[in-house]
Symmetry: C2
Subunit: 435 residues, 2 copies
């Protein structure tokens, strides 16, 4: 089989059902042929670098279960590969389907290769972050070729998907300067590309040498995650001409990638008022012809720093319900500081809630099964079953145990006023004592 | 003026603009005449018992800023009036516009009267909870008259709004038994009324003696909050015939109250899949002719105990955006235990986020002002201004301070990779160092 195709998309288009497609079909309660057809069309991406041998493959697509990504990586604060690897595996155990390695310190290669060797989740990177660190030269001193070489290096290391800010051009530099956005560019990678373009006067290398990038991605089956440099960084910038102009270019770049059988995801907002989210998801689906949408947030208010796991769970649910396929987690430390372990946990749980609530809303097969069993467990006071079904049963059990109820069947919130207890007794024709 | 009308609604219908209407108009950036017209129609309720002298009045209506309610009260765990009063004032300072006193232990009267004497927020109660405690007789031993007398007692004490489960009848008892709901009735008050009906075989006194209740409410200007006994307690029960059947009866009861110039709010879900929320809000608005909708949640997944402040912030935003006027807070302890102080805080903040995000979505005048200023403060690295604008600036400041950034202008998350820093420099034509 290995010689018949380079990418999952090429295989799908040749009518080949790969092992990865079969694995995805099983997880999603779908027919393998159905998954193959969706991969062929680009509506499902199976991010699976040919060299990531321990990968447990997942499909990303609007009609599948919504996936979540967790950002980790070694930094000035945490340089210990083993400690960071433990965080990665904890995130995977909590339900993250993807890990983006945003390492920003020291020699990033060994950690990246360790991740690929040991982690079964999809691994993503943002090569532009790594360029400065890899070459140990400042941004203005890097050449277009340097950036492309880092893309190749990451592909050779086995990275499954890469965020590449291909959609901004010299025109964007003029647009941003003229439009007077409140927050300009808040995408880290996007701002680095913009800064490099400003300092060198050159065209965006990820746009100029896109064909070369496609060749690399085709060779290893790297899924391109088309970065949205112009994603709104505050409610006021949402849906403006900078954001939508870039989205139109991302649609063109999606087409060019698909022409080379390269898989694509498209990245999206950002900060956005709740009432604009559904329309934005639909717009992405039409402009990018159904390519999976990978969103950060959307964060639905700018004034809740410290609680942006909540503001983005709100937006993420609305996004997933309207067709987003992949949510990037946001932690309570967003806008403030590097997230600590507890922040990472809170961010993952909030994202899982959003993904799950979105799946129920868009009627993903079997997405409500656990919820229905939870209803039964609550009605019958089966607390052990409740902990088992819960997204974080350990925390739920601890909260109940810390505040011992007077009655085993109810909890300390209502005691004998418990509606479930009263109803069970009433429907059994029993006497209901409240005092 | 006092003799010309009994209720805000009667005043409005007589063309009188009351002080309360004027105060509401000012807070909402509306014309007093506009508020008067909305009160006359029943589309805005100003919950203001004539005896609640220290009230700082607020309007509740789909076109106004979304209000939030916090449940407190003395319980077996916390019997100290002064301690509970401190919690109340802390909730008001955190932005709660209403406090429901759900006291369930000891002599509830003195605390209720202390609340009315000292608290400027709207005060609500659920008289059926208090009935058992007030008479110190078990539920089955109470008469219909006993319940109505507690309503009168609360009205005389100055309560601004009361949750009364008037919408279930003997027919509902049969419906619940036959329909086979997963969670039956999860409304505490609703289950008590249901249990009483089952044990005595009598009709629901809050339905049978509704006219008498209207007389009491008219006398003191108590707003009736029509309780939804059949609100879904799990996703599977959402939108079923029990819920919608009761909503239809609540629409009829709304009309009967308005005929007597009594103000009304209608209570709503509960647990509900995200995709059903908007339709449910619109349905309530048509069936109840625009009466303000007061929702608990909606909780958008059943499997996140320990995190139901998040699941309900998601549903609450969708509800507010689609027309809900009033959100009941939900704490992380929901379904598990009596909330502690930290739970109360987390619940209030999550509700404020939902209310605020909903207001922005439905374009309530000036609702986005603080968000826009936050964007400016972030662009200019004005951290003090950020703390000032934040819903919980103290927490946000603490998170940043705990993890000292290497650069004053950025934070420890991105350091020199900070997009805002790079963009400010790039747009000023400055050199951008990253290493």
């Amino acid at each position: 089989m290995e010689t018949l195709y380079r990418t999952q998309m090429e295989a799908a288009r040749k009518g080949i059902i790969t092992d990865q497609m079969r694995a995805v079909a099983k997880k999603e309660y779908r027919d393998p042929e159905e998954i193959r057809a969706l991969v062929a069309e680009g509506k499902v991406a199976i991010c699976a670098n040919r060299l990531h041998k321990c990968l447990d493959p997942n499909g990303v697509g609007s009609m599948l279960r919504t996936k979540i990504n967790v950002n980790l990586g070694v930094s000035r604060d945490c340089k210990d590969y083993d400690v960071e690897m433990e965080k990665v595996m904890a995130a995977v155990n909590m339900g993250a389907e993807a890990i983006m390695d945003l390492s920003s310190h020291g020699d990033t290669g060994p950690f990246r290769r360790k991740l690929i060797a040991e982690c079964p989740a999809m691994i993503g990177t943002v090569p532009v972050y790594d360029s400065v660190i890899h070459y140990r030269r400042d941004l203005s001193e890097l050449t277009a070729k340097d950036f492309i070489d880092v893309v190749r290096l990451h592909a050779e290391d086995g990275v499954d998907f890469m965020t590449l800010h291909c959609g901004i051009t010299r025109d964007t530099v003029r647009e941003i300067k003229n439009h007077g956005r409140k927050m300009n560019i808040v995408s880290r990678g996007g701002s680095l590309v913009f800064a490099w373009m400003c300092m060198t006067g050159n065209e965006n290398p990820f746009y100029e040498f896109y064909d070369e990038i496609l060749e690399i991605c085709r060779e290893y089956d790297v899924t391109i995650s088309l970065g949205d440099a112009c994603r709104p960084g505050c409610l006021a910038d949402a849906g403006d001409s900078c954001q939508i102009g870039e989205l139109v270019r991302l649609g063109e770049l999606t087409k060019r990638a698909w022409d080379r059988d390269v898989q694509v995801m498209v990245e999206g907002p950002g900060h956005m008022p709740f009432d604009q989210i559904e329309a934005n998801m639909k717009l992405q689906q039409t402009i990018c012809m159904g390519a999976p949408f990978y969103v950060l947030g959307p964060i639905v208010t700018d004034i809740a720093p410290g609680y942006d796991h909540i503001t983005s769970a709100i937006g993420g649910t609305a996004a997933a319900a309207a067709g987003a396929a992949f949510l990037c987690y946001v932690t309570p430390a967003e806008h403030l500081a590097l997230p600590n372990l507890e922040d990472v946990k809170q961010g993952i749980i909030a994202s899982k809630i959003a993904a799950h609530a979105g799946d129920i809303a868009k009627h993903v097969p079997h997405s409500r099964d656990a919820d229905d069993l939870m209803g039964d467990a609550r009605r019958t006071f089966d607390w052990e079953k409740q902990w088992e079904l819960a997204i974080d049963g350990e925390t739920a059990k601890r909260v109940r145990d810390e505040r011992k109820p007077e009655l085993e069947e109810s909890c300390s919130m209502c005691g004998k006023f418990c509606a479930v207890r009263s109803m069970n007794r009433a429907l059994n024709g029993e006497y209901i004592d409240i005092l």
